[in-house]
């Protein structure tokens, strides 16, 4: 992914010829949000703002910038921009790289029915065999290990990289839940619905962790098993008893106490719990939700419904998928599908299942199949393109054949080239008659040669 984001902020990479950030923003707009806070790096602010303004969204988009040099984690960044003080409502935190056809409304409903402190959004990962332009890397991608109970309660969230040979599961979790599921093929959509109490903890001074995914969320998930996490009724003002002495309890840090300080006694909620006949664990001796105050849930989308565009593989896959009319319908609901922009000067009729952006010139005898081509490109005569992603301002000279390639902005490809599964860097000129496959063609490399 680095090869693409060197020259362009990730959120502006085109997916189906629209900048990536349009997908989450339009999702929010569709579901009735009026205001969105976007956090960007200061160096990218101007570029992103310009692009977002062009998208024509009705949303009020507020930008917040953080300094690139500070190298902040997500949690830190949230703290910087939490200008409103304590919030009374739940908060959604999401990355700019989520493309999904799932209904936000449904997710929020699920979050509210379960009374979750945090709901995280997951979907099945794209298969590892997905083809990617550039050299075949043998580095195994990191996987999230997601531990769920049978009601999709989120019990653990770690990364396979954090473990050596064994993954360790606490017996307490097993004893409490009886049946747990460890999933290794789910992708975290970086879409979290946070209860305002959890949110207020994250933005408070007491939270010293920097990374949201790596530190803060695992900490919150772990607090579900703290002995402080018991429903306390007004009648019994006694501190909840510890059933057995557990080392984990002894090690329970001040942080746990600080965390639960945000979970003040909610009398109305307690009454609701007390008089509610519903119990999602009818076989157990516990009350509903096992008498826990804080509970984290996972929302799991079906396969193929969502993409997290943070790897080259998923970027290529989502671009491939969105070319199908029915997928376009799903992911870009509000935007009508325009295959070839009317402003194009196209002299060929052989364009199949592709997208062509504005002001792109296409010469005679060109064959285009399953490609997305950006705006202001020039495709000369007798070029054959198949399965390619071509960004803006690219020039492809005559007679060239490109298969499954990814061509960045303003690249220049000479005559009679034959490239397969190659990645061409921005503003790079590929000499004429180059034949290559599974390579990265980049200016940096050329200069070292």
């Amino acid at each position: 992914m680095r090869d693409l984001t060197n020259n362009k902020p990730k959120c502006l990479l085109p997916v189906g010829n629209i900048p990536l950030i349009w997908y989450p923003l339009s999702l929010l707009e569709r579901e009735g949000f009026k205001e969105v806070n976007v956090i960007t790096l200061d160096v990218q602010h101007a570029e992103v703002k310009k692009a977002v303004d062009k998208l024509g969204l009705k949303l009020d988009v507020k930008f917040h910038t953080i300094r690139e040099s500070d190298d902040l984690g997500t949690a830190d960044a949230l703290k910087k921009v939490a200008i409103y003080g304590e919030w009374k409502e739940d908060v959604i935190v999401m990355g700019c790289d989520l493309v999904t056809d799932q209904s936000l409304d449904e997710m929020i409903k699920l979050h509210r029915t379960t009374g979750a402190g945090m709901s995280a959004f997951f979907f099945p990962s794209i298969p590892e065999s997905t083809s990617v332009p550039g050299p075949k890397s043998k580095i195994r991608t990191d996987r999230d290990l997601v531990v769920l109970d049978k009601h999709n309660r989120l019990l653990m969230l770690t990364s396979a990289m954090d473990h050596d040979e064994n993954m360790s599961v606490r017996m307490r979790i097993l004893k409490k839940f009886g049946r747990i599921d460890i999933k290794s093929r789910l992708t975290d959509g970086h879409f979290y619905i946070l209860d305002n109490r959890v949110w207020n903890f994250i933005i408070s001074e007491e939270n010293s962790d920097m990374s949201l995914k790596g530190e803060v969320l695992p900490f919150i998930i772990k607090q579900q098993f703290s002995h402080l996490n018991k429903v306390v009724h007004k009648e019994s003002k006694v501190e909840p008893k510890r059933l057995s002495v557990d080392i984990d309890d002894e090690q329970e840090t001040e942080e746990t106490h600080k965390f639960f300080k945000h979970f003040t006694l909610d009398e109305l909620q307690n009454l609701t719990d007390l008089y509610n006949g519903y119990n999602n664990h009818p076989d157990s001796t516990y009350g509903r939700y096992l008498d826990d105050r804080l509970r984290c849930f996972a929302i799991i989308a079906p396969s193929g419904s969502s993409f997290k565009v943070n790897t080259l593989a998923s970027y290529c896959e989502v671009n491939r998928q969105i070319l199908l009319a029915e997928n376009w319908e799903r992911f870009a609901k509000s935007k009508p599908l325009v295959r070839v922009d009317p402003s194009c000067g196209s002299k060929t009729k052989k364009i199949e299942s592709s997208l062509v952006g504005a002001n792109t010139q296409i010469g005679e005898g060109v064959k285009i199949e399953k490609c997305s081509i950006g705006s202001s490109c020039i495709v000369e005569q007798n070029v054959t393109l198949s399965g390619c992603i071509i960004m803006d301002g690219v020039t492809i000279k005559e007679g060239t054949v490109l298969t499954d390639c990814l061509i960045s902005d303003k690249a220049n490809i000479g005559t009679n080239c034959d490239l397969k599964s190659c990645l061409v860097d921005a503003k790079f000129s590929v000499p004429s008659k180059t034949e290559s496959s599974s390579k990265i063609l980049s200016g940096v490399l050329m200069s070292t040669e």
Partner: protein
């Protein structure tokens, strides 16, 4: 009949089942084969055979490690093998001791024709086994390496049926394939799973909510696996061996979870008692005594109001009896309270007896006023307050489950026993010390005597000091001698048993308080003596006086004087 059932019937081969009757746990005071052990007054084998018969099994092979003649006789008498019934063949395997041995014997005899049910004689299961067989066949069609489908019943972690000290953890893939099988140490904090196991597929489902009834469907390939691996002794060895050597042996296993059906195993005393309760409470219906599982143990009638299953000739006095199974000719007296009990044939229960969760085999006698819960009394046992030969189970082994009812009632039962032992110990020690003082016996010899009666009565080490102090401090009054002489003589004994631990010192002070309860005036005198003889230390005495000494002692002028003196002495020495 659904079409799936027809498929089974169409099979040309005979549907077989193998019942392994391995050696009974030594918990049980029973020398016969496992299958003839009685669960709620009905032989275990009849539960197993009824279940197999209901599943349409045509031939059942019982591989018996011992008592095959008795088994054969029972099978004949109970009507198995009669025309129209399932054929049952008992195979004697002399010299075979374990599950593995019997499976090797099975392989040697080459008696298996195809897929077969494999279970132990102590399996009690009401589930329909046909879906299990169909599932196994479907799995084998999909995965050529599949050899076994293991059946498990559901039991949440707090479930009463979970009697095993080491509980089962099963890891399965989405297809039901078994990836991990462990018995977890109850004290373990963490469970370590190999990362490869998790990453090789879309994930692992960990099941800690299962109980293992030792029931499976096996393919033809299973008996030879036992022959090839001589170290497989139990079924767990087999399962673990297959998992461990999956690369070499190339066999796979699948798990089938029985939904909402009863399946358990009565292989140890706790599980036997738990299963008894399940039978009484009729979770195992239709496998209950009143259904006449065989022609031997029959004639039970159910009293629906109080859930009492009894044979003829049972006489119950004016007693509170509920949820019981009572055998022929038993007599229950007046004013008794019986709950969840199994009572064998010709038992006599006298008045004022209180039993809960008890299992009495034939011809037991329970004497008046006996009170106990959760135990097994073998045949012809006579139970009375002073003579209790029953075998109890400690329920406390169960993890977190807080079952206050059973725990507290059991404690009462134990407390009653302990009193007897302590009295014995006290009397024995008093006798030997009185004699020792009279005859001037060497105190070392007295120590030997005390120790032997301590072990005979099973007195915990931390309580010895209390009882010995009680005896010694009580002696001056008993012998009518001045305390100074008596204590001086027994000083070595006190020094030995009271020792240096502060808990023992407190015990000694407690004994002092108890002994001098009637004449508090003596207390100060004796305390002074004990202090002077270096048996007790000033710190402990002061601490005890301020924190735990009784009101009577506090008001004693002498006592207060002594304590004050001690305190000043302490300050001076500081």
């Amino acid at each position: 009949m659904p079409p799936k059932d027809k498929e089974i019937l169409k099979e040309k081969e005979v549907l077989q089942a193998v019942v392994v009757d391995d050696l009974l746990s030594t918990d049980f005071p029973f020398s016969g084969p496992k299958g003839l052990l009685r669960l709620a007054n009905v032989r275990l084998l009849d539960y197993t055979l009824s279940c197999l018969s209901a599943a349409g099994v045509e031939q059942t092979l019982v591989y018996a490690a011992q008592g095959s003649e008795q088994l054969q006789e029972h099978v004949r008498a109970s009507g198995w093998g009669e025309p129209g019934a399932m054929a049952v063949q008992v195979v004697a395997c002399q010299g075979s001791l374990t599950f593995g041995d019997l499976m090797r014997e099975l392989d040697a005899r080459n008696a298996i024709q195809g897929d077969f049910f494999l279970l132990t004689a102590d399996t009690v299961c009401t589930a329909d086994l046909r879906p299990l067989l169909l599932r196994h066949r479907a799995t084998c069609a999909r995965d050529k390496n599949a050899v076994v489908t293991l059946a498990f019943a559901q039991a949440e972690p707090q479930h009463a049926a979970r009697t095993e000290p080491k509980q089962l953890l099963l890891g399965t893939a989405a297809s039901g394939r078994v990836l991990a099988h462990q018995r977890l140490d109850p004290d373990a904090r963490n469970l370590d799973l190999p990362l490869d196991l998790i990453l090789q597929g879309p994930g692992v489902e960990l099941r800690y909510d299962l109980s293992d009834p030792c029931l499976a469907v096996c393919s033809l390939a299973v008996p030879p696996i036992f022959s090839d691996n001589f170290d497989f002794q139990t079924r767990d060895d087999f399962v673990r061996g297959l998992l461990l050597n999956e690369d070499i042996l190339g066999h796979t296993m699948y798990a089938h979870i029985l939904q909402d059906e009863y399946a358990s195993r009565a292989h140890s005393l706790p599980s036997y008692l738990a299963t008894s309760v399940d039978v009484i409470r009729r979770w195992t219906f239709p496998l209950t005594p009143d259904v006449s599982l065989s022609q031997v143990d029959r004639g039970y009638r159910l009293d629906v109001v109080f859930n009492i299953c009894k044979q003829s000739d049972v006489s119950i006095g004016r007693s509170d009896v509920e949820d019981c199974v009572i055998g022929e000719g038993s007599v229950i007296g007046d004013n008794c309270r019986l709950r969840l009990c199994v009572i064998g044939k010709n038992c006599v229960i006298h008045d004022d007896v209180d039993l809960c969760g008890a299992v009495l085999w034939d011809q037991c006698v329970v004497k008046k006023g006996f009170k106990k819960s959760h135990f097994l009394a073998p045949e012809r046992t006579v139970l009375s307050k002073n003579n209790d030969k029953s075998i109890s189970v400690k329920v406390e082994e169960r993890m977190d489950s807080v079952d206050s009812d059973t725990d507290s009632s059991e404690d009462e039962g134990e407390a009653a026993d302990e009193v007897d032992e302590y009295e014995n110990f006290f009397n024995e020690v008093q006798d030997s010390l009185e004699r020792g003082f009279g005859e001037k016996v060497n105190t070392d010899d007295l120590v030997v005597e005390i120790n032997s009666s301590r072990f005979a009565n099973d007195i915990p080490a931390n309580e010895v000091s209390l009882w010995v102090s009680k005896v010694v401090l009580g002696l001056p009054a008993a012998l009518k001698k001045p305390p100074k002489d008596v204590l001086a003589y027994f000083r070595p004994i006190l020094r030995k048993y009271v020792g240096k631990a502060s808990a023992d010192h407190l015990n000694c002070l407690l004994a002092l308080e108890e002994v001098t309860a009637e004449g508090p005036a003596e207390a100060a005198k004796m305390l002074t003596l004990l202090y002077q003889m270096d048996v007790l230390e000033e710190d402990t005495i002061v601490e005890w006086f301020e924190e735990s000494a009784g009101q009577q002692l506090r008001q004693q002028a002498n006592m207060r004087k002594f304590i004050e003196w001690l305190q000043t002495a302490e300050e001076e020495s500081d």
